[in-house]
Subunit: 502 residues, 2 copies
Amino acid sequence: MIRARNVKNGRTRNKIQHVLLDAVIVDAAKDAPLQRQLYEELKQLILTGTLRPGTVMPSTRHFSADHGIGRNTVIAAYEQLASEGFLDTSERSRSTVANLALAKPKTIGQPIHQAPSGKLSKRGELMCSQPRQRSIPGEFAFHPGTPEIRQFPFDQWRRLMANRVASVREDIFGYHSISGYPALKESITTYLRSSRNVDCDPSRVVITTGAQAALDLLSRLLLDPGDHVLMEEPGYMGAQSSFLAAGAELHPLHVSSSGWDLDNIPDLPIKALYLTPSCQLPMGVTMRMEQRLRLLETARQRDIWVIEDDFDSEYRFVGQPIPAMQGSDPNGKTIYVGTFAKTLFPALRLGFVVLPPGMTDGMRSAINITGQYPPLVLQATLADFMDRGFFARHLRRMRRLYAKRRERFIEIARETAGQWLELQPSDAGIQTLWHLESEWRDIALAEAAADRQLNIGPLSRHFRHAPGKNGLILGYAAVEEPAVIAGFSKLCSLLQSPPGRT
Amino acid sequence: MIRARNVKNGRTRNKIQHVLLDAVIVDAAKDAPLQRQLYEELKQLILTGTLRPGTVMPSTRHFSADHGIGRNTVIAAYEQLASEGFLDTSERSRSTVANLALAKPKTIGQPIHQAPSGKLSKRGELMCSQPRQRSIPGEFAFHPGTPEIRQFPFDQWRRLMANRVASVREDIFGYHSISGYPALKESITTYLRSSRNVDCDPSRVVITTGAQAALDLLSRLLLDPGDHVLMEEPGYMGAQSSFLAAGAELHPLHVSSSGWDLDNIPDLPIKALYLTPSCQLPMGVTMRMEQRLRLLETARQRDIWVIEDDFDSEYRFVGQPIPAMQGSDPNGKTIYVGTFAKTLFPALRLGFVVLPPGMTDGMRSAINITGQYPPLVLQATLADFMDRGFFARHLRRMRRLYAKRRERFIEIARETAGQWLELQPSDAGIQTLWHLESEWRDIALAEAAADRQLNIGPLSRHFRHAPGKNGLILGYAAVEEPAVIAGFSKLCSLLQSPPGRT
């Protein structure tokens, strides 16, 4: 090893250092260009300290001659090293090795062995601690909330999308339309007014990357840490996680098969109330008008935001779809959240909110800061899809299909598993809820089912405050009859041998 | 008006009430189905209290005969009203009007006059108070950070996307792959390793809906309210907003044309440090290796997360692209954030992070809760686009185009506005920074320019702690020569008459 104290003067030191450069080998047979190879070799020598700081580099002419490399290659490598700070270039013609001795960088590609020592934030830890449902990819039986995507008119969708991709327009490909593509806001308004009785105009619609993103944005826009939120129990875990991640304190609004318990709303300054009134998740019940009006009046009196999540009311098998609660609210306290995940396909990642007047600006700011606006090409495609009637037609077709599948699903369930499962009556939705009468606890049963490639949703996971009721949430919409039979065969073989018995 | 005390018994009351029903008119010539019309008419009578609670409704047979409407139509309308809670149905055959007297709902369609009284959260107010840059849609001259989208190979993109839309596969259309489509994570890894020297494997890549979404997720995952964050000044406003929205306290890391001021890092428990080392936003300078290593060593010693935002380093006009800082970090404290907004097109809404080992799970939780995973069909299309070499080819083409445009842009700027504008030297990026020597303040000038349909970015907006320096950020990449000339003509006519002079 060559030590600094042995070096008498700069010239000698440089000569000794230059010997090290003889080891630099570049190989024209390698894939990487010579210039890149040379750059990498020199960088390693500098990074490892082999080429010492302050060393004056050979001139590009000399280096080129000594190594038989074209001079332009050497110049390019030197320039690259200089621009990254490995070499210092001054007014003089010769480059010197920069002083990088402050830290020893790792060799590129060498794995990092330590886990990162910095901790997550408290809210980061909280987000990580939220329960996540284990589910088997690609197994539709009996994944809750999964629509039949194989029946989606992808040919029409593809044509519409191709048209939109082709029309290179700044409003499709630029940074504008943060609150949503205008044509889609129009289409959604038309649809909501006629089909859901929502009080709506395009200026109050904001397009989001799905309902979950809408809930997350609303949570942050409306809730400060410690704010009280009234949340359905059992209720939608995704909403619950959003509110918790925003720092809210949750209180239960109990829901049973007979409806919402409005007599025990806690006497606290509640900031927001989360509801799925048209098809409660997971109970599947529909809120009666009397309860809707009572809740809206409570919201008015106590200044509570009502977040109406209308996630799954399109598929109603008794009567017409129930109008949204938002349309009955005279006070502008209801925020309507919708999604296309169930009506089109989940991976579309498009949802929307209808805001009370005066709140659009706030939502736009939140979207701007969080970068959560969905790709405009998908928004434009969806607008076309709705405007040309494909959306309404698809809904009608699916409603017929789901009605048949649901009936058959319930029949098979009762025939095969009727001794353990009792149906919770419901008129809507793409999933069914069954009360479980077994020594099996639903969560353990779901785990065991997942081991057999069967997806089922345990009801008790949807309880936060009270002990969870034993039940199964079973999706039927995406499952054809043979898969239904096979699924129940797996489920029954589990139910026949409860865990205590083996 | 019929008062309750005048009603002697239920039967009489019902008769009187039924007279009201004579006013119900349905019209086959209208667009809405008869059943819907009847439903709406009855609902209005109930909602307005005209049909009083407890009224026993006429039988469907009578109603049908009295009004000349088919009986099935009446049954369907009654059932719909019952399912929504407007009518009560009991064991007896006759329906009664439900008691909705608790609140008076608004008539559908009647506009809400009051603004909502509930306030936003403190963080909501904070999000709304973040400065937003006014910009004119569709005007590329001289919008900072806008790539040339008209040169994007949309034909190839469209073909690839059509293929992906056609292949209905559960991994493309399901709820899985929350951290990103596996094939895209592979493609990004290959690209980052070879082109950016990033230490990466697919398990550490998470796909986001753009860099802004990545910054927002990281802010929440890493920062608690009150945590200290060191932020470049001048710096990227989007990152600043994310940190502020997460409740962080910001401290400046000053950047000048000569680099980053590492000697004045405050002696506080800093949790995270935001950097754009390869092409500083907005200064355009590149961090030298010596500074990088010094900062990484500081980060190690003081346990600081380094967030490296590599937003605009692909377009480098001197030498090769500078490797990412992350690849030199031996301690796994650097989080690398990337985007396709500048290299492909902004409306694609795709970005990504490369996380230190062990942090992927946290990020996946955050994405799950915030619903921020991008549409899988776009992810799959992009993976194909990269794997087939289209991405690399597009980058090469754009690099040549931008080099020419940049040179010409600078020439024209100097020729026409040289007396007011002095170029900040920079080797990279799709925008240019000019120091402004004028009685105009940059913000006022940008406002006046926007009035003339010209987009320019004021430098002083990027300062938070110190008084802003006077300067203009001008995008050149998306602007062809005639538009450059026209833009400078507008700008010069403003510069010739500063506000004080008129």
